[in-house]
Amino acid sequence: MTPAATPNPTLTPAHTHEVPGAVAWSAPVRAGRTVTLTALADGANATMLMIGADRLDRLNIPDTLKSQMSARIKPGMVLMSDRGLALATVTASSLDWHDCLTGALPDQLLLLELTKHGFGEADLHACINFFSKVSVADDPRASLTYVPDHAHAGDTVTLRADQDLLIFLSTAPHALSDEPAAGVAVQIETPAHTDDPELREEATRALRLTRELIA
């Protein structure tokens, strides 16, 4: 007797992991799955690099920003690659500002994670500092100031992978912060709903190309 073919949610269990403060971590994320980061303490920082399915096409912060007219990462943005494809979509966040203008200090642990996957120093492209905010002044040089008290324990951000990804994460404190390192919880799962958030035309174009070509 053949049992009825019912979906078995245990076939794609959620992966959860608490990344302690001041360490680096990496994981593959299949297209369509979501990654939710949760700050485990006030002042948390999660520096992220991202590399696409072909293991060459990296997160490109300038292209992501200029195509969506933003100097910060916020919900409703598509994270774009060097070659104009969608890597992931920021589908939700309790914060509307994640820093992407101030990079990260040289981080041997993060470099080791890259090396595990066959990458190296040349792949230290621009990163996102999730949970951190560096404000921009309306002065002649656009001066920058780290904003303390931005993220609090329990703040979250959710990314949906739009192609198979490798994500690299460091929980070292933000380079301009004097707050202690804090942990970040990661949950990778297959979401019940996959609708796109409201997006700019440029982001929709990147998603369409990605789905046509590789997703």
Partner: protein, 209 residues
């Protein structure tokens, strides 16, 4: 166009024009000064810097921004690498400010920003790959660049746009190399936004070392 200093012991000089949409790979010795002149005004000059003895030690836009606590580059800005080594310093600037957030145009990013009709237009990253190849600089080594003379306002509300340039005919910027450098230049061919005043024009490179 590939330009290399001929000897280390005698003063070499460089005086050349890079046509609109063309590029250059220039080897600048430590202490050498490279001046980029915006001959006709409002011309974006996309530029990357590499340690000539180790191209993995290359310019890092966002480390440079963080270290100076400011978005725009001008006289006094230290251009640092991913290792936080100082590659060069901007030692003269008659334009006033320069962008390093906006990156370089590519055929692929043009499609995303402007539509499919731009897929085969010439773009800066084509120029970077073409001229970079002579120094072993390939796709993985293409970092986020400086856009000399380009105006990309970043606002306190977190917005970012490309605007008409602040530059004018004859304005120049000069960098002094803090170590032996490869300077990879694309004289931007973009015609779909105001970064080149909708009309790309030639630049002049003047080297003193």
């Amino acid at each position: 166009m590939t330009v290399t200093s001929t000897t280390a012991t005698t003063a070499a000089s460089l005086d050349t024009v890079v046509e609109a949409g063309d590029g250059a790979l220039v080897t600048v010795p430590s202490g050498g000064r490279l001046r980029i002149v915006d001959l006709h005004g409002n011309q974006a000059v996309d530029t990357l810097f590499y340690d000539a003895h180790d191209i993995d030690n290359r310019y890092s836009a966002f480390d440079t921004i963080r270290e100076q606590r400011a978005v725009f580059l001008t006289t006094g800005s230290r251009l640092v690498s991913t290792r936080l080594d100082e590659l060069a310093v901007i030692t003269d600037d008659t334009c006033g400010r320069h962008d390093t957030v906006g990156g370089a145009c590519s055929q692929e990013s043009n499609v995303i920003r402007y539509g499919e009709f731009t897929r085969h237009q010439h773009a800066c990253r084509q120029t970077f790959l073409r001229y970079g190849a002579k120094a072993g600089i390939g796709q993985r080594h293409l970092a986020h660049n400086v856009n000399f003379f380009m105006n990309v306002p970043v606002t306190s509300s977190g917005g970012l746009t490309f605007e008409d340039g602040l530059s004018a005919p004859g304005k120049y910027v000069e960098i002094t190399a803090s170590r032996d450098l490869f300077v990879l230049i694309s004289n931007c061919p973009q015609v779909n936004n105001p970064c080149n005043g909708w009309d790309p024009t030639p630049i002049q490179l003047l080297g003193r070392w």
